[in-house]
């Protein structure tokens, strides 16, 4: 009976044209549009998730290290080579740390993307006679380096001072701040308060150039912000120590170590999340696809009755799955890159750019899932009796 049923079908197929693999594939996909669509949706989602997570994962290092710059300097260069010296504010002879040539040498040793901010310190007395640390700094550089400083407005003119919130309590006239260093008085305009909760609160900050003109004390400290992880900082510290043997180069260890730890843990966290989500999606896709293969036992039986070998039929299912998988990757890669881009923009303020290098990985993943979905039910299909199935038993 099954053979008789099948014969007319075969004739119609022959009548229109010969049976070719691409034709059969195309027909099979078009004929069951709803099912093909649901398989495509599942494989698109799996490619989307893989692309989005892998793109974010690959970009996480750069993004997180960027965020850690808000902690400020991670390496400090100090001119006074002997700690606890008699006058620590006085720099070691011969080292002009605010000299443009020195700064250029620092940059060439540590890297051109390094932020280097020279600072000079001196102890002056306020108009109330209280000793206070006065620091000379380039305000534009300080604003870039010390993003946590709470400043009403950054001063721009060369004769404006920024008063630490506790130091301000010891200054009688905040509009015209008079400071005396080594008998030399200087009156600066008060440019608002500085609030940090740290040592800075007890200091008065003023532009470096005016500071040097007033006190004659050059910068004794350079604060450096070296972007990147611990390895980069260590390399830069070694280079600086070689180039400046008379300076003390000290990494802010808590910052450097903490940054690496947190970046590593976030990496691990994202990796865990990625594995979990990918597994979920993969298994769901597998379930969906293999169910739809199982459901087509009748097609299978028919093809078998028409003389197709087991291998030929498997090839058919495999090719069908691969075709859908590839289409899914194309769609999923585009959508996934868009999702990663949006998450990067939303969360980190800078977009995560698509990575073409991930495409083969995503393709491989998807093809593996699709192939597994097509081949897993093969065992169940092998024991099939075409005659019995086609008869409806």
């Amino acid at each position: 009976m099954p053979v008789q049923q099948a014969a007319p079908l075969l004739n119609t197929l022959r009548g229109s044209s010969t049976i070719s693999l691409p034709r059969m594939l195309l027909r099979s996909l078009r004929h069951r549009r709803a099912r093909s669509f649901s398989a495509l949706a599942a494989l698109t989602v799996s490619a989307l998730v893989a692309t989005a997570l892998l793109t974010l994962y690959a970009d996480l290092n750069a993004k997180l290290h960027h965020e850690f710059r808000s902690f400020g300097a991670n390496v400090v260069l100090t001119a006074s080579a002997t700690p606890g010296g008699t006058d620590p504010a006085a720099p070691a002879p011969g080292s002009q740390l605010d000299d443009p040539a020195t700064l250029a040498r620092i940059r060439s040793a540590a890297g051109s993307d390094v932020l280097a901010v020279p600072i000079a310190y001196a102890v002056a007395t306020t108009d109330r006679g209280t000793p206070v640390v006065v620091a000379g700094i380039d305000f534009a550089a300080a604003e870039a380096l010390d993003s946590w400083w709470k400043v009403d407005r950054w001063p721009t003119s060369p004769d404006t001072a920024l008063l630490g919130t506790r130091a301000a309590g010891f200054i009688a006239n905040e509009k015209a701040v008079t400071l005396t260093y080594a008998g030399k008085p200087l009156t600066l305009r008060g440019g608002g308060r500085l609030r940090t909760g740290g040592d800075e609160d007890a200091r008065v900050y003023m532009p470096l150039a005016s500071f040097v003109r007033w006190t004659g004390v050059p910068a004794s400290v350079v604060e450096l912000q070296i972007p990147g992880g611990a390895a980069r900082v260590d390399a830069a510290v070694d280079a600086l120590r070689q180039n400046f043997p008379d300076l003390r180069v000290q990494p802010v260890r808590a910052l450097v170590a903490g940054e690496s730890r947190i970046v590593d843990r976030t990496h691990a966290l994202l990796f865990g999340a990625m594995a979990l989500i990918s597994l979920t999606v993969a298994v769901s896709v597998l379930a969906t696809l293999s169910a739809s293969v199982l459901e087509r036992r009748r097609d299978f039986a028919l093809m078998k009755a028409l003389g197709a070998s087991q291998a030929q039929m498997l090839l058919h299912f495999l090719l069908e799955a691969l075709l859908i998988a590839t289409a899914g990757v194309v769609l999923g890669y585009i959508l996934g890159s868009a999702v990663a881009w949006a998450i990067g923009l939303e969360n980190f303020g800078t977009a995560t750019l698509p990575r073409l290098s991930l495409l083969p990985v995503v393709l491989l993943l998807n093809v593996l899932i699709a192939a597994a979905a097509a081949l897993l039910p093969a065992r169940a299909l092998r024991g099939l009796q075409p005659a019995a199935l086609l008869k409806g038993e």
């Binding site: 099912r35 649901s38 206070v132 010390d146 040592d199 000290q250 903490g258 979990l276 169910a291």
Partner: protein, 453 residues
């Protein structure tokens, strides 16, 4: 009849139900785990960021400024006001007391020591708590101190004990033996090693008020490397430094580590200019500013400030990482929803013949739909509950694996999540089956039955 159909459908088609159930189970597992991670990540990252030290610092309202640049105190501050150590228990009674995870008071005093082969040397003694219990009446005890506040300090040997063996007695001939840890640079200068002793049997000649002659034997039990000014000091129990400096109960600075909510525009408002209602809201949010404000209220003569370098950067990083987790949770939810919908759709599609049969036997469309929805709903609730349990456990295991620390299964289950994930599972399962059910019902039963005969 309805219930029997429902029951039979589960009993006969175990394999198909298992497939759809697995999809829902895994989807709910992933979503629960991600949500569990996203909600607890804040505390974990805060603990990680604790290496950066205190985020709130308490100073006495001073009459002089400290003159410090980097590691060097350019001019020692004299006649400084101090806080009272006994007032620190009040930190356990403020509104956000439970958010305070670490407290470390300190007091500094100059000290002359006799080191072997170097004669008299003046050094700075830094009085600290190492592992000190802090407890107010009726509150749980918090064991805290410099160790907890400075996880990045490297220690060779061990920390000194907080408890003193006796009282510093000027009349006594016997030296009081005390444990100390020495800063690494001072240790290098004085050539000290773990196990060495330092003697302080020297009176201060020019001290005002005159000091009693000290008779101490400092046993070095640890060498501390902090890579800051601490490396040039000897670390002693706070109680001893108070006796040496003859200022009982005094502390000059208190570092506090607190779990805070990242600062937003509202946090930056000045509470004293807010309306009473807004002020209460401000007060009852764990901003660093409001905790500092409460500390100022609790401790007389205190000036509490957030350490902006730590607090601001922590806020940024915490916000970024938990934001990332929330967004990925949302993505996981979406992906799981689509995957589960696809699985549900397939499950209905393959049962078209059954629908046709039921319809031809006289079942109304509504009844058939009700049966299929009931199946999907039952599956969602059962698989969803299992998924919730698995996801919760997975979140805890993942956290323990990544951040270390023990696995605490008792804290794994967030009861709030269960209704949320179940509702999502139900919604997704029902929504996922709807197009296929509608499609199957629209078909003529005759055609379906013939096609599949």
């Amino acid at each position: 009849m309805f219930w029997r159909l429902l029951w039979e459908s589960f009993a006969r088609q175990r394999r198909r139900k298992l497939l759809a159930g697995t999809a829902i189970f895994l989807g709910v597992t992933a979503v629960t785990a991600m949500l569990g991670l996203a909600t607890t990540i804040g505390n974990r990252i805060h603990l990680e960021l604790a290496v950066y030290g205190a985020n709130i610092v308490v100073l006495p309202k001073a009459d002089t400024l400290e003159v410090t640049v980097g590691e060097q105190t350019l001019r020692p501050t004299t006649g400084n006001a101090t806080l009272h150590e006994s007032d620190l228990t009040k930190l356990r009674t403020i509104f956000w007391a439970n958010n305070i995870t670490g407290v470390s008071p300190e007091l500094r005093t100059p000290l002359e020591v006799l080191a072997e082969g170097r004669g008299k040397t003046e050094i700075e003694a830094l009085g600290l708590w190492f592992d000190h219990p802090l407890q107010a009446a009726g509150t749980p005890s918090l064991v805290t101190g410099a160790r907890a506040l400075h996880p990045s300090w490297k220690l060779q040997g061990r920390w000194p004990a907080d408890k003193l063996a006796g009282k510093l007695d000027p009349e006594s001939k016997d030296a009081l033996s005390v444990e100390t840890a020495v800063g690494s640079r001072l240790a290098a200068r004085l050539n000290l090693h773990v196990g060495d002793t330092l003697l302080t049997a020297v009176p201060f000649p020019d001290a005002d008020p005159p000091f009693v002659p000290l008779n101490l034997t400092l046993r070095v039990v640890g060498i501390v490397s902090a890579e800051d000014a601490t490396d040039n000091t000897v670390l002693l129990p706070l109680a001893l430094v108070q006796q040496i400096a003859n200022t009982p109960d005094a502390v000059s600075r208190v570092e506090i580590s607190a779990t805070t909510k990242p600062e937003d525009a509202f946090a930056r408002r000045d509470p004293d200019t807010l309306k009473p209602k807004d002020r209460d809201v401000w007060y009852c949010r764990p901003y660093a500013n409001s905790i500092a404000y409460q500390i100022r209220e609790a401790i007389p003569g205190a000036q509490a400030e957030q350490v902006r370098q730590v607090e601001q950067a922590e806020g940024t990083i915490l916000g970024r990482i938990s934001g990332l987790m929330w967004l990925i949770s949302a993505a996981a939810l979406l992906a799981a929803a689509v995957a589960v919908s696809a699985a549900m759709a397939t499950a209905v599609l393959e049962r078209r013949a059954e629908i046709g049969l039921m319809r031809s036997l006289g079942a109304s469309k509504a009844r058939v739909a009700a049966l299929f929805y009931a199946e999907a709903g039952l599956l969602a609730v059962v698989a969803g509950t299992f998924g919730y349990v698995a996801g919760s456990v997975l979140a805890v295991l993942l956290t323990a694996k990544i951040f270390g620390g023990g696995v605490m299964l008792t804290h794994a289950f967030l009861p709030v999540l269960l209704p949320v994930v179940l509702a999502v599972a139900l919604l997704v399962a029902l929504a996922g089956s709807t197009p296929s059910i509608r499609g199957a019902l629209r078909l003529d039963p005759n055609v379906v039955l013939r096609a599949s005969a």
